[in-house]
């Protein structure tokens, strides 16, 4: 089609498959030629608001096993939505190959082009190229694996009863944050291989002996007593339970594994909100502006685009009633935007702070490099520039437990830039929201009590109410009493 024709096509508020098809041709060309990004093939799905609510409740997985927790999320979301308290996202995108994006049917043409660039190219390239996703998730097989999980759990419900299975799942969900490998690379998954592996494992379990049940002669026992089990603290609690719980049955171990694998799949997403949204927002912004520069889009289209774009990156100040923390879209977008600016039009400050980027002009290569190699924590630490700190008027609050006041410890000035940057970077460290709890010891020769240890960071204590509720779940999986200690002191125990 001619440019003028396309311009007319994109100016209509209503779209059809042709509109998306034509837009995709242009967007994909600009994405690869202008931004130089690579993506998985795209599967662009059109859904209704009802289906979007369904998708929300499965945290964006196209399929998952049945559990009341998803029902709860669904009910809460649809209540909010029906009361008009919550708008639905224009799109939702899944880290899979092909990259599936769900797009709302009532999006206008402008929004469709926007989400096409944002999700199908921005997020897509991030999923495909970011090191965390490459290392920790298998986009090729996640859908396949969830099919396996759903079928397996349905079968268990049939065989062992729905309550039993639910109890096991509840227990696993309570430990979901502790089912993640941070240092080992997980193996590839697929339905067929999973099935075969499971068969073999169940057979092995039948034949093999669990070490915890072993009875041994006394002298040997004394010697062994000096050894701790596990030798080293284990941070993947679900993994430890799956492998060592004395009482779990074969199918329960498999359920632990399924939850663990799901947790692992989401592990990178929690650590890449800012950079991932920044990447997607920067991508749509660049692509749409380039489309306009190249004459595919009308002024009217751009008006609507800017309206939507500025909604996405709206950042209320800390004292606004709309404030709910830093908007990851805004922060990420601002950083990427500023890197492009300093690459093309550097100031003295930029030359001093970012000598390897400022004025070099290779902004798109740089963009690609960052997308591939960083997560929120490192991204902010490395690239949050003084200009962005000034523009967003970021400031650091020091909240010491024993003080009855907050101190404004740094602001956007020469003194503060580095401190604000470091502090903000730290806030994206996973340990800020997931307490450090590890398997400390199993009383192998006594009553097999499992001891967890919490290592406090910055004097932050655990919510004791929650601890008391979680421990029985751990006990359910472990089969014997469980206790948790902190600095050598016992916090709670399930021992009577």
């Amino acid at each position: 089609m001619e440019k003028e024709e396309l311009k007319k096509l994109f100016s209509k508020p209503d779209w059809n498959d042709d509109t998306i098809f034509e837009a995709d041709k242009i967007v994909s060309r600009i994405a690869s030629e202008y931004l130089g990004i690579e993506t998985y093939p795209n599967q662009f799905e059109i859904i209704t608001s009802e289906q979007m609510l369904d998708a929300y409740s499965l945290i964006g997985l196209p399929i998952s096993y049945n559990h009341w927790k998803f029902g709860k999320d669904f009910v809460i979301n649809s209540n909010q939505y029906k009361k008009g308290r919550m708008g639905l996202a224009y799109e939702l995108v899944i880290n899979s190959n092909p990259c599936i994006s769900y797009n709302m049917e009532d999006n206008t043409t402008c929004l469709m082009v926007l989400v096409l660039a944002h999700a199908a190219y921005g997020h897509n390239t991030f999923f495909k190229n970011n090191y965390l996703f490459k290392q920790w998730t298998q986009a090729d097989s996640i859908v396949d694996y969830m099919v396996f999980a759903k079928e397996f759990i349905a079968k268990c419900e049939e065989k062992y009863g729905y309550e039993e299975v639910e109890m096991t799942l509840d227990a696993c969900h309570a430990l979901m944050n502790y089912g993640v490998d941070k240092y080992k690379k997980p193996i590839k998954l697929s339905t067929k291989e999973e099935g075969e592996r499971l068969q073999k494992k169940l057979e092995d379990d039948r034949i093999l002996l669990n070490d915890l049940w072993r009875t041994i002669p006394r002298e040997e026992k004394e010697k062994l007593k000096e050894r701790r089990f596990p030798d080293q603290p284990e941070e993947n609690i679900l993994y430890f339970i799956e492998k060592n719980s004395p009482k779990l049955r074969g199918w329960q171990r498999e359920i632990v594994r399924i939850v663990r694998k799901t947790a692992q799949y989401f592990y990178p997403q929690g650590q890449t909100k800012v950079i991932n949204e920044g990447c997607a927002t920067f991508t749509h912004y660049e692509i749409i502006n380039k489309m306009y520069d190249d004459g595919y889009l009308s002024d009217g289209f751009m008006q609507e685009f800017y309206h939507n774009h500025s909604n996405v990156i709206f950042q209320p100040g800390f004292d606004s009633k709309f404030y709910s923390g830093l908007n990851p879209y805004t922060l990420g977008f601002n950083i990427f935007q500023d890197l492009k600016r300093m690459s093309l039009n550097p100031t003295h400050e930029d030359l001093e702070w970012f000598p390897h980027i400022a004025g070099k002009g290779n902004w798109s290569e740089n963009f690609k490099y960052i997308v591939e190699n960083f997560k929120d924590e490192t991204f902010v630490l490395q690239y949050l520039s003084p200009k962005v700190i000034r523009d967003m008027r970021l400031f650091e609050i020091d909240d010491q437990m024993e003080n009855n006041y907050y101190e404004v410890s740094s602001i956007h000035n020469e003194n503060g830039y580095k401190k604000v940057r470091e502090s903000l970077s730290q806030s994206y460290n996973r340990s800020r929201y997931v307490p450090d709890i590890q398997i400390f010891d199993v009383d192998v020769f006594g009553d097999r009590t499992l001891t967890l240890e919490h290592t406090p960071i910055n004097k932050r204590g655990l919510d004791s109410n929650e601890v008391r509720k979680v421990l029985p779940y751990v006990e359910h999986l472990w089969g014997f009493p469980v206790r948790i200690i902190e600095n050598g002191k016992e916090l709670a125990t399930t021992k009577k």
């Binding site: 498959d17 809460i76 209540n79 004292d319 609050i397 602001i411 929201y433 601890v467």
Partner: protein, 421 residues
């Protein structure tokens, strides 16, 4: 590679309905607990309107996690939008010690956003299911179980005859395919044979004959029709006899002048519950509404619940009418139930005695079960005393007292609780 556009709008609606059901199961206890309040707080009309959904507040079904205690620890936060603060400024902490948000933006679909309290909205149907889950009419099937028979259509395999609307396409197609394959093979084999012969040494005459035959066979093979009469299969149904029970419920309400707004409201609510219970649980049940002051009258459902009348109270009139109706219409083959509501007022002592007599000698002998509720009366009157004696004597007569709207559900449950055999 071009984009793959999939329109999902037509497919897979209600993906979450299974998960929602599980949530409902999980909070079943809470839903049941909320029922008395709903009976109490909903007005009579809303209680029966079928469109409306019921909102039930759910408390604290949270998913516990190891989390930090918000009040502990030394923390540093970065916030945007500084207007006036300078380095070293101090800001007083709010009294309750709650700090600001953690600086993590939370999206609406963030799994960490948990609300302890929320509402589940359930449909009227689901609501009534919970409502009447453990209740039933006592001795429902005692009488004449086999005397009345209904017919039900039941699947019974397939047949070669039937009307077109029952055509089973899959089966018919399978038959057709099998037939076509079998016939095709038969001809294929013959054709092959001839073709083989044709390759050998033949005289011209033989060749002409064979070629003609080959031609004929090929034509016949093409002639195998796609669908033949013999392929067609129809879904077959049988009529199966099902024994059914027939039941009638008498609702007797006192609408005399002594019944104030409050008393009437309670009585109406009670009957409304009863009415919903009966129509929901039993497909075939007849309900007879009787209202009385000094005289009794059989009325329609609409009148029973809505019209306003008043006067003195003669209870026996209602029971006499009931007895008459039973004899006229429900003398045989019926399971009969009765529920009476009153404020306990009687015309005089003899009225109460008459009631006792007619129930004991006549009505209770022909009916399955009767309940009586007395509303807002703290002192036992003549009617209550008589009925109390009767209820001690007769197994199929229960009485209860309701003073507050909130007690209705409890009494109702006591009356109709499933009794394990």
């Amino acid at each position: 590679m071009s984009i793959n556009i999939v329109d999902r709008r037509g497919s897979s609606k209600g993906k979450s309905s299974e998960n929602r059901q599980r949530l409902l199961k999980r909070v079943e206890g809470q839903i049941k607990k909320a029922l008395p309040d709903i009976v109490k707080n909903t007005n009579v009309k809303d209680l029966t309107s079928s469109k409306e959904r019921v909102n039930i507040p759910i408390k604290g079904i949270n998913e516990p996690q190891f989390t930090y205690d918000k009040d502990t620890g030394d923390k540093k936060h970065v916030h945007p939008g500084n207007k006036e603060y300078d380095e070293g400024d101090m800001i007083k902490k709010p009294k309750d010690g709650q700090g600001k948000g953690s600086g993590q933006g939370k999206g609406s679909n963030d799994p960490n956003v948990t609300e302890d309290d929320f509402n589940v909205s359930i449909s009227r149907e689901e609501f009534l299911d919970y409502f009447f889950a453990d209740l039933e009419l006592p001795d429902m099937v005692k009488k004449h179980l086999n005397s009345i028979v209904d017919f039900k259509q039941k699947r019974a395999g397939y047949s070669n005859y039937g009307n077109p609307s029952r055509l089973n396409i899959t089966r018919s197609y399978k038959n057709s395919m099998a037939r076509r394959m079998a016939l095709g093979l038969y001809f294929d084999k013959k054709i092959k044979d001839i073709e083989k012969k044709l390759k050998g040494d033949l005289t011209d005459d033989e060749r002409i004959i064979l070629e003609a035959e080959l031609d004929k066979l090929k034509k016949m093979k093409l002639g195998v029709s796609f669908m033949e009469e013999v392929d067609l299969q129809y879904n077959n149904f049988d009529k199966v006899a099902v024994p059914i029970t027939s039941a009638v419920m008498f609702c007797v309400m006192d609408v005399s002048g002594s019944m104030g707004e409050k008393e009437k409201d309670i009585a109406k609510r009670f009957f409304m519950l009863l009415y919903m219970f009966l129509t929901k649980q039993y497909e075939r049940i007849e309900i007879v509404f009787i209202r009385h002051h000094t005289t009794a009258k059989e009325v329609t459902e609409e009148e029973f619940f809505n019209s306003k009348e008043s006067g003195g109270t003669v209870v026996i009139s209602a029971l006499e009418l009931m007895s008459k109706i039973i004899k006229e219409r429900y003398s045989k083959d019926w399971n009969i139930y009765a529920a009476q509501a009153s404020d306990g007022d009687v015309w005089d002592k003899s009225d109460a005695n008459d009631c006792y007599k007619i129930l004991d000698t006549d009505i209770l002998n022909s009916i399955q079960y009767m309940t009586y509720i007395e509303i807002c009366r703290s002192v036992a009157g003549d009617l209550w005393n008589n009925y109390k004696a009767l209820s001690d004597k007769r197994k199929n007569f229960e009485i209860g007292r309701i003073n507050e709207v909130g007690e209705i559900w409890k009494v109702f449950q006591d009356f109709f609780k499933k009794k394990t055999a």
